[in-house]
C-alpha cells in the first residue's frame, strides 16, 4: 500500500529526514514512534504529498506521490496533528466540503457524511457550528474528515495529543476498528502505549533516521531483552525453578528474595503452562508479577534517550 524508499528532506541546515525507508501492507497498522522533532511529521507530510522529498521515492497504492499528484492523494486519508476544521461551519458542512473536494458527488457526499457522523458519534450535533464543540468532539470530527472517501491508507499524525483520556480511548478504539476493517494505517505518536496497542509493526525514528522497525516482539528481541516473571508461593521454590527451566521459553530461573525469578520469552503466552508446571512440583502460587520490556526500553536502548526527552 505504501512504500517509502530512502526519503530525504532538508530545511536549510536541518536535515529533518535522512534516508527513511519503510513499507506498509494492506490492512496493516504501522506506527512511527519517536519524540517531538524526530521527523515524524515531515515524513508523513512527504507521504501525503504536502512536501516534496529532496531525494527518495514514495509510492502509494502503486502511484508515485508528489506534491502535484492527484491519483496518489486520492488513496490517502490525512488526519493532521492540529485540528484542521472550520469553526464557523457545522460538522456536516465541514464533512460535506471535504467529501466533495475528494471527488464524491453531492448524493454520495450526503450519504457518506451521515455515515461518518455516526462513526465519530456526532450525528446529533451535525448542524452545530464546530466552534461550539468540546475539544474531544473536534478531535473526532478531525479524524472523521480523513475517512470520508474510504481511503486505502489512513495517515494519522499524533491524533491524541492534547486529548482527554476518554476521547483518547475513543480515538484509539476507532483506529483499532479501522484496522480490523482492513484499512492500512500509518500512525505517528510519541506515546509508547499507543504504538504497542495499535500497531502491527513499529518504526522507531529519531533525528530523522529510522533506527529500527518490526513487530513489538522483533524490536524487543532486537535489543536482547526478555520478559521478567516473579512467582510467589508456598512449597519447594527451588524445585519450581528447576521445573520451570525445562520449558523452552524460559531462559533462566532462580530463587531470589523468597520467590522464583524467571527470564522468559513471551511471558503472557507462557503463563498458563508455567503455572501448571510449578503446580506439578507442589508449589501453590499466590502472586504473579510480569515485567515485560516495552518499546520505551527499546527506544532507550537504540537512541540513548527516553521518548519524552
Amino acid at each position: 500500500m505504501l512504500a517509502c524508499q530512502n526519503v530525504h528532506k532538508r530545511f536549510g541546515d536541518l536535515e529533518a529526514v535522512r534516508g527513511v525507508s519503510f513499507e506498509i501492507a494492506e490492512g496493516e497498522t504501522y506506527g512511527l514512534l519517536g519524540p517531538n522533532g524526530a521527523g515524524k511529521t515531515t515524513t508523513i507530510s512527504i507521504v501525503c504529498g504536502l512536501l516534496e522529498a529532496d531525494a527518495g521515492e514514495v509510492v502509494v497504492a502503486g502511484r508515485r506521490m508528489r506534491t502535484r499528484s492527484v491519483g496518489a492523494k486520492a488513496a490517502i486519508g490525512y488526519v493532521p496533528q492540529e485540528l484542521a476544521i472550520y469553526p464557523d461551519l457545522s460538522a456536516r458542512e465541514n464533512l460535506r466540503f471535504f467529501a466533495r473536494l475528494y471527488g464524491l458527488s453531492a448524493k454520495q457526499a450526503n450519504r457518506r457524511v451521515d455515515e461518518v457522523l455516526a462513526v465519530v458519534g456526532l450525528a446529533d450535533r451535525a448542524r452545530e457550528q464546530t466552534k461550539n464543540f468540546s475539544g474531544g468532539m473536534q478531535r473526532r470530527l478531525n479524524i472523521g474528515l480523513g475517512l470520508l472517501h474510504r481511503p486505502r491508507l489512513l495517515v494519522l499524525d499524533e491524533p491524541t495529543v492534547g486529548v482527554d483520556p476518554q476521547s483518547r480511548n475513543a480515538i484509539l478504539e476507532s483506529v483499532e476498528e479501522l484496522g480490523r476493517e482492513g484499512m492500512a494505517v500509518l500512525y505517528t505518536t510519541h506515546y509508547m502505549e499507543e504504538a504497542e496497542r495499535l500497531c502491527d509493526r513499529v518504526g522507531i525514528i529519531d533525528l530523522g533516521v529510522l533506527k529500527a522497525e518490526g513487530t513489538r516482539a522483533e524490536l524487543v528481541a532486537l535489543v536482547g531483552e526478555h520478559d521478567r516473571v516473579r512467582l510467589d508461593g508456598v512449597g519447594d521454590l527451588e524445585a519450581a525453578a528447576a521445573a520451570a527451566s525445562t520449558l523452552p521459553a524460559v531462559c533462566a530461573a532462580s530463587v531470589e528474595n523468597g520467590g522464583v525469578q524467571l527470564l522468559v520469552e513471551g511471558a503472557r503466552n507462557l503463563l498458563p503452562e508455567l503455572l501448571q508446571t510449578v503446580a506439578r512440583v507442589g508449589v501453590a502460587v499466590d502472586a504473579v508479577e510480569v515485567d515485560e520490556p516495552d518499546l520505551e526500553a527499546v527506544f532507550l536502548h537504540l537512541t540513548g534517550k527516553a521518548l519524552r526527552d
Binding site: S45, C48, G49, L50, L51, T67, R68, V70, G71, K73, A74, I76, Y78, P80, E82, L83, A84, I85, Y86, D88, L89, E93, F97, F98, R100, L101, Y102, G103, L145
Partner: protein, 382 residues
C-alpha cells in the same frame, strides 16, 4: 475548476456568517457615503440653487435676451431662482436681507446703448455674506457681456444691427464643468462611488487573504492533501474575492442610488468600471498577500495599501481638482480612474466614455496580477 468552485462556495458561506465582512463590504461604506454626502453637499458640486434678484429697467430686446436666453434656462434646470424686483432699491434690499446672493440690474437704455455701440453697464449687486453665489452672478453677467461684445463686433463688421443677434445668444455659463478632464459629480454620487471603491479594496481581502488564515489553521494542509491541484486553491480564493467585490459594489451602487439619490450614470458603464475595479483590487491585494508571512501581517499591509491608494485616488476628497503633482499622482491609482470613469458618466453619457478609465484600471490589474502570479506559489505552499 470544480474544486475551485467548491472552495469559493465554502468561503462565501463563511463570509456570509462573518458580520465584519458585511460591515466592511456594505454597511460602513454606505454610512460614510451618507455622512460625507451630507457634510460636503454644497461644497463639491452638490446641486446648488442660487437665488438672484432681477431689476429690469430697460425692457428692451437686450434685457429680454438676458432674461430669456441666459437666466430662464438656468431657472428651468433648478440652478437659479430669479426674483423680479421693480426698483434697484428693492433689489438691493433683497440682497441686504440675505434673500438673494446678488441682484442683476439691467439699466434703462441698455438696448439702445448696444444698438448705438455705446458702452453701458449690466450691474451686479452682490451679497457680502453669500460670496460664492455673488461670484457666480458676476460670472454670468461677465460672460453675457462678453458674448454681446462679440456679437456687436461681428454685427458691425457685417453692417447688421446687433439686436437681431441677441435672440440667438445661448446661455453663456454652465454652472457645472462638463469638460472631459474634470467632470463634476454631485456630493452624494462622489462619496457613494468614493466610499464604494475605497472599501472595495478591504472587501476583496476576505477572499485572497483567507488562504493565509487557512495555512495558520491547518485547513490549507488538509486541502492540499486532497486530490486537487494547488492552483485550484488559489483560483477558489480569487473567485471569492471577485464575487465579494462585485456583490459589494453592486449593492452599494443600488443602495446609494435608491437611498442617497446618487447618480451613477449609464448602468453598462458602471458595470464595466465595477468589473475592472474589482479585478484591480483583487490583483493588488493578492500581490500584497504574497508578500506577507502571516494573516495579521497581510491584514496590516493590505489596510495600509488600501488606505494610501484610497486617499491618493481621491476617494475622500476630489484630489484630481487639486491640480499639480497631487492630481498627477492620483492617476497612479485605480481608484482615481474609477472615479474619473464615474465622472465621465455623470453628464448622462453612454458606456463608451468609461472605456479609457476602465482600460487604465485594467492595466493596474494586469501589472499587479502578473506580479502576484509570479509569487503565488508562496501562498499555496504549506
Amino acid at each position: 475548476m470544480r474544486a475551485a468552485l467548491l472552495i469559493a462556495e465554502k468561503d462565501l458561506r463563511q463570509r456570509l456568517r462573518d458580520r465584519s465582512a458585511l460591515l466592511v463590504a456594505i454597511v460602513v461604506p454606505l454610512v460614510l457615503a451618507s455622512i460625507f454626502g451630507l457634510i460636503f453637499h454644497n461644497v463639491t458640486g452638490g446641486q446648488v440653487t442660487f437665488t438672484y434678484g432681477l431689476v429690469n429697467e430697460d425692457h428692451g430686446s437686450a434685457a429680454e435676451a438676458f432674461e430669456q436666453q441666459v437666466l430662464a434656462p438656468m431657472e428651468r434646470r433648478g440652478l437659479v431662482e430669479i426674483r423680479r424686483e421693480p426698483t434697484v432699491a428693492d433689489g438691493r434690499h433683497l440682497v441686504d436681507q440675505g434673500k438673494a446672493a446678488a441682484t442683476f440690474v439691467l439699466p434703462a437704455g441698455m438696448t439702445a446703448a448696444f444698438d448705438a455701440g455705446r458702452r453701458t453697464q449690466l450691474r451686479v449687486l452682490g451679497s457680502a455674506d453669500q460670496t460664492i453665489g455673488a461670484q457666480v452672478a458676476d460670472s454670468i453677467a461677465q460672460s453675457y457681456a462678453s458674448r454681446v461684445d462679440t456679437i456687436a463686433i461681428a454685427a458691425r463688421a457685417l453692417h447688421a444691427r446687433p439686436p437681431a443677434a441677441f435672440a440667438a445668444a445661448a446661455a453663456p455659463i454652465a454652472l457645472a464643468d462638463v469638460s472631459t478632464a474634470s467632470r463634476q459629480l454631485d456630493a452624494g454620487t462622489f462619496y457613494a462611488a468614493g466610499m464604494a471603491v475605497f472599501f472595495l479594496f478591504f472587501t476583496v481581502q476576505f477572499g485572497i487573504s483567507s488562504i493565509l488564515d487557512e495555512r495558520r489553521d491547518g485547513t490549507l494542509a488538509r486541502m492540499l492533501a486532497a486530490p486537487i491541484r494547488r492552483s485550484a486553491v488559489l483560483a477558489g480564493k480569487l473567485m471569492t474575492s471577485l464575487v465579494l467585490g462585485v456583490i459589494s459594489m453592486t449593492v452599494l451602487a443600488l443602495a446609494t442610488h435608491f437611498l442617497l439619490h446618487a447618480h451613477w450614470g449609464n448602468p453598462l458603464g458602471v458595470a464595466i468600471l465595477i468589473g475592472a475595479g474589482v479585478l484591480a483590487a483583487t490583483a493588488v491585494m493578492a500581490l500584497v498577500a504574497t508578500l506577507a508571512r502571516t494573516p495579521d501581517q497581510a491584514g496590516a499591509w493590505q489596510s495600509m495599501v488600501a488606505l494610501v491608494l484610497g486617499m491618493l485616488g481621491g476617494t475622500f476628497f476630489p484630489v484630481s481638482q487639486a491640480g499639480g503633482l497631487l492630481a498627477k499622482l492620483s492617476l497612479a491609482t485605480p481608484q482615481a480612474w474609477f472615479l474619473r470613469g464615474i465622472g465621465n458618466l455623470a453628464g448622462g453619457a453612454g458606456a463608451h466614455v468609461v472605456l479609457g478609465p476602465a482600460a487604465a484600471i485594467l492595466v493596474f490589474a494586469a501589472l499587479a496580477g502578473a506580479a502576484a502570479f509570479l509569487r503565488a506559489g508562496r501562498l499555496s505552499a504549506r
